[in-house]
């Protein structure tokens, strides 16, 4: 069937602003309203289109309300549709007009054309005017019983709309039980799906005040309902399938036979062309098998191929959404994609939001066998034009280094970064080298040789500068120039904007002093004086503290400032495993993308 041809489209509306056009329209509409000439509907349509265009581009055409309603006393469905659109838009802000509208919509709800009945009912329920709800109950009741499925699908959602305008009216009219009956008996799958959506919303909201509603909500995930929906799953539209699968994921089967039955039934959904269906099916599989370790592992194997396909085909936005899901899966089962890491290599013209997630994936799947390849690839990105991605890549290398036991090769790479002589690369690498040294002090010798050759003038970013200064203090006995570099940094105390850097400088000078007192004594005095005069409270306090500590007892001061250190074995994870589990429970939702959990009581996110 050919799409509407270009030839039929109306010329673009120009951008009128004044009232002249509106009053013109008004008189034209008035002329047409009474006429019964042949072809009159075509002229009306052109006018109506104009009205809708004006409305869309933000011109107030509410003045022609009466004429519009008069003109739509016709059997022409196109005119009716445009009129519904128009009244739907203006009734909200103008309750007087809404009352006018109700009458004619109610009449159309009884039209002999099911299309008109459905459309009129949808418009009627969309008016959202609280004091008119009494007019909705009758047409809705008829709509739910209509013999045409289109009208019923509209009516079911209409019930939900009514509930949101006035919950008591909806409950008093006994609509929820009617929906339940329809859900379990209607031959039309879309009616069933809409009933499910509506009932889930209504009963979830009612559950806080009514025990019965909370029982009903539980009943939705009872065996009979779940089995009924599963048996019809192939009839549903793709989106309705997702809805049903989301519900099934909440179901708790009695025994393993049931689990296998459900999974066998749904196995073919993994081949569905719609990625949303595939993801929902995966959620069901993962949730059903949570308590069966072996099967759960098999599920990971089974879902791997479809997930990788979803990442590499389709739009970047889809890749983004799918990659977010892969990320939580890989957190739970790092092995699953360990041999498929090449799927997460970035492509040159991918948007950076996809690249960022791919970098996270590469970090997460790195293990003993693939680290070398992954790090090699990441090093390519470090020279990327896209500076944020280059930075992320370097950070990723660092994260991998902190995860791995065999960091030999990685340390070399990081040190190469330091020699690339690009400010942002040097900056990122310095921060990483610092973290690495805290975990693997045995590498200090190699690192210090390279770090020592970096000119502190080339490091401007506070985090990097602080890292460099920390290393100068910590390894001052190995770095020939350490006291002199610290000295020149102290001389520029006034120009240093970052308090963090100044704090580190104070501590580094102290450490250096304990290791090489004769060379550092002068700098220490200058640093403490500058610190005491600092306007930043923390810097001032720390300088004062050091000053008093030194006055009290130098060896005590050394034990406080420069004690022997233990290597950090594991850096604290930013996310607790409990949160990760809860995100996993909310698979297929925004939580996954935001990596945050909803609160149970209200809908919204903690930020």
């Amino acid at each position: 069937m050919a799409p509407p041809a270009q030839a039929h489209r109306s010329p673009s509306p120009s951008q009128p602003s004044g009232k002249g056009e509106v009053s013109d329209l008004k008189s034209q509409l008035r002329q047409l309203a009474g006429s019964r000439a042949p072809g009159i509907d075509d002229s009306k349509r052109e006018l109506f289109k104009k009205v809708i265009s004006y409305m869309t581009i933000g011109i107030d055409v509410s003045a022609v309300f009466g004429e519009m309603v008069m003109c739509s006393a016709t059997s022409d469905i196109v005119l009716k549709k445009m009129c519904y659109l128009y009244v739907g838009n203006y009734a909200k802000v103008n309750p007087d007009l809404a009352l006018l509208t109700i009458n004619f919509l109610q009449r159309d709800c009884k039209d002999e054309d099911p299309m008109i009945r459905g459309l009129a009912l949808r418009s009627l329920c969309s008016l959202r005017v609280a004091n008119l709800v009494e007019y909705l109950v009758g047409p809705l009741g008829l709509g739910l019983k209509d013999n045409n499925s289109y009208v019923r699908t509209v009516a079911v959602i209409g019930v939900l709309k009514l509930y949101h305008i006035s919950a008591p009216t909806c409950i008093d009219a006994d609509f929820p039980p009617t929906l339940k009956h329809l859900m379990l008996n209607d031959p039309d799958p879309q009616v069933v799906a809409n009933c499910l959506s509506a009932l889930q919303e209504i009963w979830s909201l009612e559950a806080s005040t009514s025990e019965e509603a909370s029982r009903e909500r539980e009943a939705l995930i009872s065996k009979p309902v779940i089995y009924y929906l599963l048996n019809r799953i192939k009839e549903f539209s793709e989106w309705a399938q997702c809805l049903v699968l989301e519900l099934v994921a909440k179901y708790v089967p009695l025994d393993s036979n049931e689990i296998f039955d459900i999974m066998n039934l749904l196995e073919d959904r993994l081949q569905h062309a719609n990625g949303a269906v595939v993801l929902s099916t995966i959620k069901v599989f993962l949730h059903l098998t949570l308590s069966m370790t072996d099967v759960h592992q098999q599920v990971y194997e089974r879902i791997k191929a479809p997930l990788l396909t979803l990442v590499s085909s389709g739009s970047p936005e889809q890749s983004y959404a799918v990659l977010s899901h892969l990320h939580i899966l890989v957190m739970r089962a790092p092995f699953i994609f360990a041999s498929d890491y090449k799927h997460f290599y970035c492509q040159y013209n991918e948007p950076s939001y996809v690249k960022k997630l791919k970098l996270e994936m590469l970090t997460a799947v790195a293990n003993e066998s693939n680290t070398y390849e992954i790090v090699t690839e990441l090093c390519e990105y470090a020279a990327n034009v896209d500076i944020p991605i280059a930075r992320e890549s370097i950070r990723a290398v660092g994260k991998i280094a902190l995860q791995q036991y065999d960091v030999n090769a990685i340390v070399d790479r990081l040190l190469q970064f330091l020699e690339m002589e690009k400010d942002y690369v040097t900056a990122e690498a310095l921060v990483l080298v610092k973290d690495l040294l805290r975990k693997y002090p045995q590498w200090s010798h190699d690192c210090i040789a390279v770090v020592g050759s970096i000119s502190s003038q080339n490091v401007q970013e506070p985090k990097a500068k602080a890292a460099l200064i920390w290393m100068l203090g910590e390894y001052s006995q190995d770095m020939q120039d350490a006291p002199y570099i610290l000295e020149s940094l102290t001389e520029n105390w006034e120009e240093e904007p970052s308090a963090e850097v100044r704090l580190h400088l104070l501590t580094a000078v102290m450490k250096c002093f304990f290791k090489r007192p004769p060379e550092t004594q002068k700098v220490l005095g200058a640093a403490l004086a500058a610190g005491l005069a600092d306007f930043h409270q923390d810097v001032h306090d720390r300088a004062l503290f050091y000053h008093r500590l030194l006055q009290y007892n130098v060896s005590v001061a050394e034990r406080v400032v420069n004690p022997p250190k233990q290597a950090v074995s594991v850096f604290a994870d930013t996310q607790s495993s409990e949160i990760k589990d809860r995100i996993f429970d909310e698979f297929n939702s925004l939580s996954v993308v935001y990596q945050k959990v909803t609160t149970m009581s209200k809908i919204g996110f903690h930020h």
Binding site: M1, P4, N148, Y150, P187, Q271, A273, V385, S589
Partner: protein
């Protein structure tokens, strides 16, 4: 709760609302517009912005299509992936109606847009998104009215994607097997990654309710039937089917049987994990003749059988942004310098198998370089081309049977084509790079590792 959408917006390239449909009345268009325009202004490049953003209690999910953004706003914890898939489906539907979805076509069709938005989603829940089915509901546009009014099709109809009573004078089916190959090659000339994504694209012009059956040289199927699979069968990883295919049937005996929708659709997609031999191998050399003159020499060699021919070959060579006065000679095809893309584009309309072509280009570079070195551009060389009548995977359609109860005879047409997806070569072949290594003897040819790509 699955989560419903509060509103769907269609916005222009600057983020201003063109049309929107308010489904639940709990978000404001003004607020959304203010937020979104700020968002896309922020880095001047909307491409870098995550497609899911949160602001003041509302989650916005958006995609871009030509000069239009499609965006949903929601206050609930809705299914992000599903909604992004949904938005892409909305694009497909609009394209079906307006040929192309862009600002102009939306402005010309406000009424149809509203109608479509109303039928595709009700109160924030997705409804029908099949263009064929939607045409049952969408009545605007005068000529559609000439069609005798049918009652809206009951979806009780077992085949929700096809209406009854379709009639064609000539019954035909076109089946295109299209394969996209992506190959990534690193600076040492090694293939880092290759993958093949294929699709069977159908256009059906068939009357009535035809039953179709498709036979492929699928190894599992052939083995199950006890046929010899020597050399001809292929292994398909991860197949995905259009909803019309009876998945249970495929699970049981690997038969692909279906009642097709009317018009065009993707019957199935598949992915191949096997390493693909590169179809074209390219070598490049850069010679620096002096501080301000540089010459590149590129050889492209086709490595497929002589009876196949690659068409519309396009090789994009990155060139320094301040290069000028290009002097380019090619042994085949034409090359043009596109300064805005900082690239030299070499086009060869027809490139038969087993041939080698050359390109030689000379550029002038400014003799003075800027004090502040811009980050080194590390663009890959990219190649695009198509090879008709050829598939990388070797997939073959063995038969396509069409049976309809009226017993008409339908003509199936099958075509094969391999298309270059994007080929990315991470390669230092870039004039910037050469200029950075200025310490080298300027007269010594600077050879770089060979690199290659694949259609």
């Amino acid at each position: 709760m699955a989560g419903a959408v509060s509103a769907l917006f269609l916005l222009d390239i600057k983020g201003r609302v063109l049309v929107w449909r308010d489904y639940r009345g709990d978000v404001s268009a003004k607020q959304a517009e203010r937020f979104f325009t700020k968002l896309i202004e922020k880095d001047g490049d909307a491409q870098s912005q995550d497609p899911v953003v949160y602001d003041n209690g509302v989650s916005y999910l958006f995609i871009q299509h030509s000069n239009v953004y499609l965006m949903t706003a929601s206050r609930q914890n809705c299914n992000a992936a599903s909604l992004l898939f949904f938005l892409h489906r909305v694009v497909d539907v609009f394209k079906h109606y307006f040929e192309e979805l862009e600002e102009e076509s939306l402005r010309d069709n406000f009424v149809v847009v509203y109608e479509l938005l109303d039928e595709m989603m009700d109160f924030g829940y997705p409804q029908y998104t099949e263009a064929n089915i939607l045409s049952e509901f969408i009545k605007t546009d005068a000529y559609r009215m000439e069609v005798t009014q049918r009652p809206p099709m009951a979806v009780t109809n077992a085949v929700s994607w096809r209406s009854e009573g379709i009639q064609y004078k000539k019954n035909e089916v076109f089946l295109d097997v299209v394969e996209h190959v992506n190959i990534l090659v690193n600076s040492n000339g090694q293939i880092i990654r290759s993958d093949v994504v294929g699709a069977l694209k159908m256009r059906t012009y068939l009357s009535g309710m035809p039953e179709c059956k498709l036979g492929l040289n699928d190894r599992i199927l052939l083995e199950a039937q006890g046929r010899s699979t020597k050399g001809k069968a292929i292994d398909l990883d991860d197949i995905k089917f259009h909803q019309c295919v009876r998945l249970a049937r495929f699970e049981n005996d690997r038969t692909i049987s279906f009642i097709p929708p009317d018009g065009s659709f993707d019957l199935m997609t598949y992915r191949l994990n096997t390493q693909v031999k590169p179809l074209i191998w390219v070598e490049a050399q850069v010679e620096r003749h002096s501080r301000s003159r540089v010459e590149i020499l590129v050889k492209a060699r086709s490595q497929f059988k002589e009876r196949s021919t690659a068409t519309n070959v396009e090789i994009e060579l990155p060139v320094s942004s301040d290069a000028s006065n290009p002097d380019v000679r090619t042994s085949m095809g034409s090359a043009s310098y596109v300064p805005e893309d900082e690239a030299l584009i070499w086009k060869i309309r027809s490139f038969p198998g087993g041939k080698e072509y050359m390109l030689r280009a000379e550029f002038t570079l400014p003799s003075i370089t800027a004090e502040e070195a811009t980050p080194e551009r590390k663009a890959p060389i990219r190649v695009k081309f198509e090879i008709p009548y050829f598939t990388v995977s070797g997939i073959q359609v063995r038969y396509l049977k069409i049976i309809e109860k009226s017993g008409y005879h339908a003509l199936p047409w099958v075509r094969y084509i391999t298309m270059a997806g994007l080929e990315v070569i991470i390669e230092n072949l870039c004039l910037d790079f050469v200029r950075n290594s200025m310490f080298e003897d300027p007269y010594r040819p600077h050879a770089l590792a060979p690199f290659q790509f694949e259609s």
